[in-house]
């Protein structure tokens, strides 16, 4: 439809428009942009080329995680930055070492502990402007010091919206691992042996286990380690699903029934077992968080299963025909 032939000058104009409009709060600038688009059909083609490059670069952090060759260059960038006011992300290997060196030190009695029970979530606004939403049955201790900020997720799940501060990194400790952030939004799960981090915004480094390198997670990715697994799975993820519980929903997109059972136990208390015959079931759907009986009923409507209760324990078994 649009001609793909445009001059270098048009390309440069398109770049200038793209950058100007990214955070533009002025309608008149948008109207000028409209005039520019309509002045020559090649302008739209040039603008689309800038957008395509922008989208293509989304995957650069994944490439750098997979092919760390370029990180030598980042190290020198960091060295140069030491004299300026720049901060920089450490390359994976160095980050792992650093995580070991600055392991969390909670002074006894310092820090504030927040807890939730089985019946409600809780929003904690921190003095630095960051926000933590605690899921049910969760315990988090927060320690804000002059030169660093730290939180320990003892159990459960929490969504962190961390305010960016140049001189005070925020470190979250959970499940024997550490998650280093700048300014970002992410969800951490540390429950009954399952560990997971989902990043909505920014970039997060998660320390490895047993001497493995730290993983760098860009926005839109998740790191998961199910109970008993020996390695992490990093995949693209829709952050909205992982954060859904913060507005009272559980969203599953092709998840194993075991993961759903863990959520049932977390929200309803007690233990929840899964009949081996159901292990292969994958769950896609939305469940509204409520009391255990409501949760069970929704799940029974969604899946060919039945939930049996016995002495405070629940068992997910195949539905009767």
């Amino acid at each position: 439809m649009t001609p793909t032939v445009y001059s270098d000058a048009m390309r440069d104009e398109a770049v200038a428009w793209f950058v100007r409009l990214q955070e533009c709060d002025d309608e008149t600038v948008w109207l000028e942009h409209q005039d520019w688009l309509e002045a020559d059909p090649a302008h739209a083609a040039a603008y689309s080329a800038v957008e395509r490059l922008w989208i293509e670069s989304d995957d650069l952090p994944q490439l750098e995680a997979a092919e760390p060759a370029a990180e030598v260059i980042e190290l020198s960038a960091r060295r140069a930055a030491r004299f300026g006011r720049y901060r920089y992300w450490l390359p994976a290997a160095a980050a792992a070492a650093m995580v070991g060196a600055v392991s969390l030190q909670f002074e006894r009695g310092s820090g504030e502990t927040y807890r939730t029970g089985a019946d409600a979530t809780r929003v904690v606004a921190l003095a630095d402007g960051s926000r933590i939403v605690l899921n049910r049955n969760t315990e988090v201790t927060v320690h804000l010091a002059r030169n660093r900020r730290a939180a320990e997720l003892a159990s459960g799940e929490a969504a962190f919206d961390i305010r960016h501060e140049a001189d005070r990194p925020f470190v979250v400790a959970a499940g024997g691992r550490e998650i280093r952030v700048l300014g970002t939004e992410f969800d951490v799960l540390n429950d009954a042996g399952a560990f997971g981090v989902t990043v909505r915004r920014g970039l997060v480094a998660v320390s490895g286990t047993g001497g493995t390198a730290a993983a760098r997670l860009p926005a839109g990715t998740a790191l998961l380690r199910p109970p008993g697994a020996r390695s992490d799975t990093v995949s693209r993820a829709n952050p909205d699903d992982a954060f859904a519980w913060t507005h009272g929903q559980l969203v599953y997109a092709d998840r194993p029934l075991d993961a759903v059972a863990r959520d049932l136990a977390r929200y309803g208390g007690g233990t929840v077992s899964v009949d081996p015959a159901l292990r292969d079931i994958r769950v896609t759907g939305v469940i509204r968080i409520g009391d255990p009986a409501t949760l069970d009923r929704q799940l029974e409507q969604l899946l060919p299963i039945r939930i049996e209760r016995h002495n405070g324990q629940r068992a997910i078994v195949p539905a009767r025909h």
């Binding site: 439809m1 649009t2 270098d8 390309r11 440069d12 770049v15 200038a16 793209f18 950058v19 100007r20 409009l21 990214q22 955070e23 533009c24 709060d25 002025d26 309608e27 600038v29 948008w30 409209q34 688009l37 309509e38 739209a44 603008y47 689309s48 080329a49 800038v50 957008e51 395509r52 490059l53 922008w54 989208i55 293509e56 670069s57 989304d58 995957d59 650069l60 952090p61 490439l63 750098e64 092919e67 370029a70 260059i73 960038a77 930055a81 300026g84 006011r85 720049y86 901060r87 992300w89 960016h164 140049a166 700048l182 300014g183 970002t184 915004r201 920014g202 970039l203 860009p218 926005a219």
Partner: protein
């Protein structure tokens, strides 16, 4: 009137202008769908942050709709490539059904990404850092400015310089 109602009424007033924006970007045939998509976002998504100018906010939403449309096209292309790869494997014991195997999009994408990385490394450190902080660490232009202790307009200049260089080096 709360902010989302204000946005909805602004949308109704500006509907024709937004349609004109999409028509200039992708042609009239697809423009109506994209206006509809924008409407759905206005109606269903919570407002993030303060809305200083509702009309400009809507235009920015249109810009995001365009970017997401490109993202979807890319992941669809990746899925198609994966399907072809898997299906080629299925016939690998016999002969390749098709002589001219379609170029592997994933390899091309990865090669272009390597070139983007190399091009980024050509740039002076402040330009490179500005680009990375904004693009990969999700800082706004003013947050990057505060981080690096420079003005917001310098951040925009650095962003323009980085993008001009990347697009010149990597091409279309």
């Amino acid at each position: 009137m709360n902010e989302s109602n204000l946005l909805l009424s602004t949308f109704m007033q500006r509907r024709a202008s937004l349609l004109r924006y999409f028509a200039a970007r992708v042609g009239e045939a697809e423009a109506e769908d994209l206006v509809q998509e924008t409407w759905l976002r206005v109606a269903s998504q919570p407002v993030v942050g303060e809305v200083r100018n509702p009309a400009a906010y809507l235009y920015r939403l249109c810009g995001n709709v365009m970017l997401d449309r490109l993202r979807q096209e890319r992941s669809r292309a990746a899925r198609d490539a994966e399907w072809r790869r898997v299906n080629r494997t299925l016939v690998a014991n016999g002969e390749e059904v098709c002589e001219d195997v379609p170029a592997d999009n994933a390899l091309i994408a990865r090669d272009r990404l390597r070139r983007i990385r190399a091009a980024l490394d050509d740039l002076p450190a402040p330009v490179r850092q500005t680009f990375r902080l904004h693009k990969f660490e999700g800082l706004s232009h003013s947050e990057v400015a505060a981080e690096l202790g420079v003005s917001r307009s310098l951040v925009e200049k650095h962003m323009m310089r980085a993008l001009k260089h990347l697009i010149a080096r990597v091409g279309r």
